[in-house]
Amino acid sequence: MTELADRILSSHGDLSAFGDARRQRLPGRVNADPETVERGLAQLVLTLIELLRQLMERQALRRMDEGSLSDDEIERLGQTFMKLAARMDELKEHFGLRDEDLNLDLGPLGSLL
């Protein structure tokens, strides 16, 4: 069997983007069991919030293209989405979750996100 470490077929640039977020961002918890009930629930909740965030953002972009949002609305929506994204990043970091962890496989419907 090809040793697991040799399964990189091609790599370019800084690979730390693809590493383990937990180890990188929470050095004090290297050995923390990743499958606690609390983390699992956080994962589900954050996945749903991420879904809503993406849907709302897409809708906002569409309406911005259409020209059906006032400048003031665009500004306020943008600020809100930015703050929400920042808060999500904080929560993900707290629970040691990567972007890839915020996804649900819905079977024939594909992945949630």
Binding site: I8, L9, G13, E57, D71, M82, E100
Partner: protein
Amino acid sequence: MIHLYAFVDGLDGLPALTGAGGEPLAARPLPGLTAVVGELDSALPATSEAAIAHGTVVESLCDHAAAVLPVRFGGSFADTAAFHAAVQPHVAALRDRLTRLHGCVEVGVRIAVAERAEPVPGAAYLRRRAAETAARAALADELHAGVRPYVLDRRVDEGAPFRGAYLVRRADVEAFARQVDRFARQHPDAAVVCTGPWAPYSFAGRLS
């Protein structure tokens, strides 16, 4: 307790490995296919270590079988009777899946583009998000155009970071990787990694 690793076809022998719980691996024959299992006293803990051990077993099976259909971690049954009751209704579908995966492996590609996070006015933030979304879609299109000759099927997540899983014939893995190299050199600002070969986890499908 029966822990299930994978369904296989054309198994020439079990790999010289113990299972994720230190148990011996066993081949359970079914009509037209084989299930590779381990017998344990209790369920495996849901830890990275157990998951890696499970994955190591599945990957080593790829060297011993003509087709491998990986089972997700967590597939365990109280006893042999429960195992057969659960699997029996799906035997035909599993055989069909294995036929389609014959001689195929999975290759993964991840692309990360640095996204600026500094606070900007709200309108500029939305415009930046729109541009980033469009840029990711363009990168995906370019990658896919290059690897198209080798790809039998694909599953893609065009979010940030981009993640693609590609079903490829074993013999085409090297050529696929060279195309990824070519693509990456066109985009020196992006981090790109191509991994594999893996057992075809992303193309295992669902059982209704």
